[in-house]
């Protein structure tokens, strides 16, 4: 589904990713862990096409298509979703309006007619229940005045609405209390299917107690330096990252 080969990327001329390789198949959950500044968020930005980053070398292929040839909105409409680490506020634009626009753009891309009002409202209701989201929030402007936890929950709500093939959760656990964490993780797990895949970018092992990864990768200094099963996450939690750094240095 996703094949990343020898990826080099930089921001403002500074190289962050230095030859990253990653392969994700449908139905899989991959966790990407690593110390601060190792390039975790850069990876999510580059996959989704954030124009602030420049890919200098390597390739990202999604379902046989070269993502570098595609605008960010095309990648989204192909089925790539990013749950932002810092969701953006858009004053005056209601969540309902925002979601309907997004869904209809996706449908247009797939040559489907716009969604009917009844279908839209029904799906909204279902997905809100999935992430236990309050009606109040969907009537408000996008992320405006949302608490940190509400913003993250809103990201998962949008993911549920858009049903992506590949979801990237960028530090979705940061700023969540334990209840919110459980709700968010529940949402993600319920959306899991043999057809879609998830990349969980996280600092801590905590989220991985709820979302069980098939693979855990350690990102350090712009490269994946170690991969393993879910036990690797436990080991990282217990021993920290220093031993990895030493291994790499050798």
């Amino acid at each position: 589904m996703l094949e990343i080969k020898n990826l080099h990327a930089s921001i403002n001329g500074k190289e962050i990713l230095k030859g990253l390789n990653l392969s994700v198949q449908p139905g899989e959950i991959h966790a990407i862990m690593g110390p601060n500044g190792s390039g975790k968020s850069t990876l999510s930005s580059v996959i989704t096409g954030n124009p602030a980053f420049e890919v200098t070398q390597g390739s990202i292929i999604f379902e046989g298509k070269d993502l570098q040839e595609m605008a960010p909105e095309e990648r989204a409409n192909e089925g790539i979703f990013l749950s932002f680490q810092y969701p953006v506020e858009i004053p005056g634009v209601s969540m309902v309006n925002f979601m309907r626009t997004a869904i209809n753009e996706q449908r247009k891309y797939r040559e489907l007619p716009p969604i009917s009002a009844t279908d839209f409202l029904r799906i909204m209701r279902e997905k809100k229940a999935l992430v236990e989201m309050d009606n109040k929030l969907t009537n408000r402007s996008v992320n405006e005045g949302f608490s940190g936890g509400e913003k993250k929950r809103n990201e998962i709500f949008q993911m549920a609405m858009l049903e992506p093939k590949l979801a990237i959760l960028d530090e979705t656990d940061s700023g969540l209390d334990i209840d919110a964490l459980r709700i968010v993780a529940n949402g993600v797990n319920k959306l899991k299917s043999p057809e879609n895949a998830t990349i969980v970018i996280t600092h801590y092992q905590r989220l991985l107690e709820y979302i069980i990864p098939d693979y855990v990768h350690v990102l350090y200094d712009g490269k994946i330096v170690k991969s393993g099963g879910k036990d690797l996450a436990m080991e990282l939690e217990a021993r920290g990252y220093d031993w990895i750094k030493q291994e790499v240095a050798v």
Binding site: E73, F84, G92, V93, A102, Y109, Q158
Partner: protein
């Protein structure tokens, strides 16, 4: 430069690529007393109307062009303009002859075909539906005692009302452009709502059909008697083709005791091309007076057009407990310049006013809010709240706020808030990541920003205004 523009406008016979073969009535360019007399005579006006015009003309001669606005206005040669031109001198014969870009915009806005023709200046078949619609409206209104007609008709049929109210809110001495308008105004609308009558329809549909080619010096007078209500819509969301470069209109509103007048404008005159060539200069004087107790006037405007806009819809709060509002969205793109805002003059006791101004600047445009809140010595317990927001797209445009306050009564509470923001790359990328293109994202964000004001517009206008905001800013980001 100005000479060429004026020349292009007054002399051009080829702006949209069609030829002239219709007999026209044009008097020679230039302005003098004789021209004023000819205009009045051609309109078969009574003596008192001519006197009004002449008085205004003589006063205009003593006046200077105001230069205080934050605008760069090319020098205009008032002697090279024709002040009475039969409107459809270059009328295209069919839509095939109309600028395709204009038609593309009409289609984006979803303007019906017949209306497209009217807006493009095509001589519309006299039996088209709108005429009968117009008549039906007129009958309904007449039964209620409402007068709604062109200004010329009002001069002819309701001279007492016109004489009583014309120039009482905007006197001919008010400013340079008001004096010019008073001397040479072409036509406009007249509305009279009798005591206790609530006008049952938005006065718009009629106007949209009727308003084409009312000319460059429009004059509107609205009188709402005690306990009456009217909602009036001016203009159209479609970009109007117009041969005139200079527009200097006057709108006067009089609200008696307990009367409520809502005036909504969507202004989309030709703004000039991307390089700033051409475009309408719009110098408008709009003012209302809340004359009676508990009266209320609200101005709502969405301004997206014109190369230069100079416009300050204002209110005089004379009656005790009267209130007024000014809600505005002004968009400038490319080389457009706008200096717009309001004046709230509090004279009566317990009066309140609310100002909400939203400026949006893009391209290399300049967008200024200029507002005055004045509280008179006897205006006990006056209350004003002003909020002025500016949104910038790109880094070559300018947004400016010039709030003035003159408070002469200690019991007054006057508040002013201002914000300036930019559409951030993060907002755009966030939308992109949800599958929304940059252009649509800008439209979404701008409409969100302008929502508070657009929501004040009557339904039928609001939808078109939203589309218009997006179209106006197309291509302004990334």
């Amino acid at each position: 430069m100005s000479d060429t523009i004026i020349h292009e406008v007054t002399q051009s016979e080829y702006k949209y690529g069609f030829t002239t073969d219709i007999e026209t009535e044009v008097i020679p360019v230039g302005l003098n007393e004789n021209v004023v007399r000819i205009i009045s005579a051609k309109k078969n006006e009574p003596e008192w109307m001519l006197d009004f015009r002449l008085k205004a003309y003589r006063h205009w001669l003593t006046m200077k062009i105001p230069t205080w606005a934050h605008l760069k206005i090319p020098e205009i040669d008032y002697q090279s303009i024709s002040y009475f031109a039969a409107p459809r001198k270059n009328a295209p014969q069919s839509l095939d002859e109309v600028d395709p870009e204009l038609l593309a915009t009409f289609n984006k806005l979803g303007i019906p075909l017949e209306e497209q023709k009217a807006l493009s200046g095509i001589a519309v078949d006299a039996v088209m539906d709108s005429v009968s619609v117009k008549t039906t409206f007129k009958e309904t209104l007449a039964e209620m005692g409402i007068i709604f007609c062109s200004f010329s008709e009002a001069v002819e049929h309701h001279p007492d009302l016109v004489k009583k109210y014309m120039g009482t809110v905007v006197p001919h001495t008010d400013n340079f452009y008001a004096a010019l308008n008073s001397a040479v105004f072409s036509d406009g609308s007249f509305v009279y709502i009798p005591k206790g009558v609530r006008c049952p329809m938005e006065l718009s549909t009629y106007f949209r059909i009727n308003a084409v080619n009312t000319g460059q010096f429009e004059r509107t007078l609205i009188v709402a008697e005690e306990d009456s209500y009217v909602s009036y819509l001016e203009g159209c969301t479609a970009p109007q083709r117009d041969e005139n470069q200079l527009h200097a209109a006057i709108v006067e509103i009089v609200a008696m005791k307990n009367a409520d007048v809502k005036y909504s404008t969507v202004q989309n005159w030709y703004p000039g091309d991307k390089e700033g060539k051409g475009g309408i200069y719009n110098f408008v004087t709009k003012r209302g007076i809340c004359k009676g107790e508990n009266s209320h006037i609200s101005w709502t405007q969405v301004e997206t057009g014109s190369a230069i806009t100079w416009k300050y819809p204002s209110c005089i709060l004379q009656g005790d407990n009267s209130s007024a509002e000014f809600y505005s969205v002004a968009v400038t793109n490319h080389h457009q310049q706008a200096d717009t805002g309001t004046k709230m003059i509090h004279l009566g006791k317990n009066t309140s006013s609310h100002i909400l101004s939203k400026g949006i600047s893009a391209g290399v445009s300049q967008n200024s809010y200029r507002g005055l809140v004045r509280v008179g010595a006897n205006a006990e317990n006056a209350r004003n709240f002003s909020q002025c927001d500016s949104l910038l797209l790109g880094d070559k445009c300018g947004a400016h706020t010039f709030p003035y306050m003159e408070v002469n009564n200690e019991s007054a509470i006057v508040e002013h808030e201002a914000t300036t923001s930019k559409i951030s790359e993060d907002q755009i990328f966030y939308c992109n990541q949800r599958g929304i293109s940059t252009e649509d994202a800008v439209g979404l964000i701008v409409n969100g920003y302008a929502k508070e004001v657009v929501d004040k517009l009557p339904m039928e206008f609001a939808v078109e205004a939203q589309k218009l905001l997006q179209i106006t800013l197309e291509g302004s980001v990334g």
